[in-house]
Every structure is written in structure tokens, then in C-alpha cells.
Subunit: 272 residues, 2 copies
Amino acid sequence: MPRTAFFISDRTGITAEMLGHSLITQFEDVNFRRVTLPYVDTADKAREVAEKIRAQAAADQCQPLVFSTIVSEDLRKLIVVEEALTLDFFEIFIGPLEKALGRESSHTVGKSHGIVNFEEYKTRIDAVNFALAHDDGVMPRDLNEADIILIGVSRSAKTPTCLYLALQYGIKAANYPLTPEDFGNHTLPKLLLPYRNKLFGLTIDPARLNQIREERKPGSRYAALDNCQFEVAEAEALMRHVGVPHLSSTTRSIEELATSIMHTAGLTRRTY
Amino acid sequence: MPRTAFFISDRTGITAEMLGHSLITQFEDVNFRRVTLPYVDTADKAREVAEKIRAQAAADQCQPLVFSTIVSEDLRKLIVVEEALTLDFFEIFIGPLEKALGRESSHTVGKSHGIVNFEEYKTRIDAVNFALAHDDGVMPRDLNEADIILIGVSRSAKTPTCLYLALQYGIKAANYPLTPEDFGNHTLPKLLLPYRNKLFGLTIDPARLNQIREERKPGSRYAALDNCQFEVAEAEALMRHVGVPHLSSTTRSIEELATSIMHTAGLTRRTY
């Protein structure tokens, strides 16, 4: 029987989910059922939520965990029920911060993921458009604008990593697939030569690559294990030879790839 | 003079950034300089970080704020300095959770954003590929697979919202631009008729749309304010007439659009 974890917020619930998720993953042998309840921004909705938590406690026959980020104190009180352990992020942290900063917090709902200003929004959308326009080796003239260019064999997670860099950090990331034509002499494709210091490599375990490619093109030469082994070995040799920093996507999530790349390349986020 | 906020983690720093960001945005009139220090996973790195914080306190002549998510207690202790206010997320929350769950946490670094399992990773990458393959009205046969189809005029934030839904939640989102050919009789484009219950609309303030389009195609008919007013009015009339739920992207961030859409459409995330 799983234990229920609620993520509750007066806005999107993203912070509550992240907060709760990174905590409950520390308890590996507990089976959690996760319920996100966003936009709890009126007293009626808060009371409904309290009822839901109570009902869940009765159904589960065990105490639900409630992770919340509700800015309004009045609403926050309404969701606290005896039957659950409620950990409210604002309640716990705002006090010490007000003291340290010597002023009261604005207690405004929805500061965190709203559009802060049009410029920041534009930076992000521009970065997404840049990633889409420079995906999979499409390299128009404005590659000079790229903050980073990911290289690697097909299906090494370049595209999702570029999109993540754009959406989360406003970073302009292009990507270029290394294909069998690029191998043999361990030199960079000509197109990439002027941008050598913007390159970052992604590599992947050949067995995993084989598995991913088989799903896409079953039985093809492209997907065959020996071909995957060849491509990965050549791509890695090229990166080592030219001195391109690289990471394996085999055991890393998109978030980890993106943040490691930024860290290694010394990039800082353009948006919050 | 800005006050410095450090976001420190033994892994990506994403949770620390989010945690800290949603807290400091509650203090509107304080000017923060933000510094993220990820991958602090050895005693040496932790000591270096402590030095950095001390130096910053001296330079700023005011107490830095340190938001951290460091799982190891030993490392955590090393980054705490007298000169700063340190709020560690794990330190504060893990205790009450261990008590409620009746067991010790695994204190394992990097649970939160690692690849938990290949299936979940695949769900996410498949969703990204789906969004890319069904962007901007490209509608191959497998539209049946779509969890949601966003409609709206060109530049109403459909594409970044679809990509966000895919990357963050593993949701398969297609998008279809409403263009002047679709207007006039307030009926849906034929292609979309079979998927009526999967549709969700995005709209936008015509003045904002004009501003966005002018950046893209300055002086064009496409960007002209009266054309933006016409397209938005027609698109909204169509959505109302057909009964497609819709939201304005004018004052909402991509996160807010994505979570509101999921909430309204009753979709739940496929990945954590």
C-alpha cells in the first residue's frame, strides 16, 4: 500500500513538487503515490484540499505527507490537518529570512514562476527558437551567437539537452550530429572549426545506444550493436584528440547533463 | 550594492536554485546577486565554498544568504560559516520526515535528478521527439497519441509550452497554428475535428503580439497591430464558439501555462 505525498501550492506547484520529490527520494524503500494540487488560491479551495487529505489518510490507513508552498498565512493554516505531516516551505524559511534581511517579505502569491519582465521572457523564447533552428546539424549563419554547440553521435541526447538549456536557462545551444562521414581522421568537421571553443561532446554507452536506436529503426545497420560500438569509439577518439570536453548521457538525466555542461563551460543562466 | 545569494548543492543545484529563488522573490526591494555552485561533493570543494562565502561577505559588507541542498551531513557542516545565513533544505526537512516515516533516509547524493529508470527516461525523450515532430501544424498520422494539442495564432507561445510539457512532464503535446485561412466561419480546421477534446487554446494580448512579431518580421503585414488585433479576435471567437478552453500567455510564464493546461485538462505528469 503506497503512502500518499501531496504537493500543494497557490500557484504552479513546481517548487512544492521539486522540494517534496528531492526529499522523498531519500526514502528509497517507501512506495509513494504522488498528488499535485496546484492553484489552491482561495479559502474554499484550501478547505477542499484539507478534506481531500483527511480522506486520503483514512483510505491509506497511514499519515500522508504534505509538501506545500503557500504564501498566504491564512490559506496555509486551512490546509493543515492533524491526520498529515505538513511541511510548508514558506512557513519554515520566511521567518529567518525576514530577520536576516531586516524587512518583511511581500507575501505575494506567484512571484516565483510568473513573467518577471518581458526581456527575460524574450531571452528564453529566443533561446528556444535558436535551439530549434540549430538542431541536428542545421547551421545557419548566426552560429556565432551560440553559447554552446553540442556534438555527439545520433541519439546521444543532444536535442533534449539543448532544449533544456534554452527553456531553463535561456542558453543558446546548437547541436551537430557526428556521423560516419565525420570519422576516420579524428579531425573536426570543417563547419565546426571556427567554433572549437564552443564545443561540448555527449557520448553514450554503445549497448544503450543500440537499445535506443533499435526502438527507432529496428533491424537497421544504423541500430546494429557493432555499428554503435564503432560510432561511439570514433566519436570519443575524435573528442579526445581535438580536446573537446565530453560527458556520457548513459547514467545522467537531462537536468544533470545541462547543469554539468554549464558548470564545465563556465556558462551562467540568463533567466530565472 | 547587491546582496549575494548562494545556491549550493552536491549535485545539479536545481532544487537549491528553485528553493532559494522562490524565497528571495518574496523580498522585492532587495537587489540580489545570485551565485550557483553545483557539484560540491568533496570536503575540499566544500572548504573552498566556505572560503568563497566568507570572501563575499567581506566584499559585500553584508551577510550573504546560502541556500543549500547537501545530503551528506559532514559536507554540509563544512559550508556553514558565521558570516552567512545558511538554510539547508535537507537539514531542516529530513528530521521530521524520518520521524513520520519511521525509518532513516538513505542519505544518498543525487537521487533527485538522476536517471531513475530507463522507461521514465524514454517517456521523456519520446515526448520531446513527439513535440518536435508535431510542431507548427505538422500533423503526421500518430496524432492519436497526442495527450494535448495546443492551438493559437502564430507566436502565442505554443512551441515552448509544448516543449516544456514534454521535457518536464513527459506529456505528448502537438501544436497547430491558427492562421487567417482558418478564420471567418468560426469552425475548427478539418484536420483538428477528430481531436476536439484534446484541444487547448493559447491567446495573447494583440499589443504584445505586435511587439513579438515586429522583432521577427519588422514592418510586415504579419506583424502589423491591426492584423494582430484581427487574428487574436478571430482566434478567440473560434475558441469560444467551439468551446475550446484557453489561456492567455501575455502575463504567464511557460511554467504557468504548462501547469495550468495540465490542471485544466486533467493530465498528470509521466516523469519525475
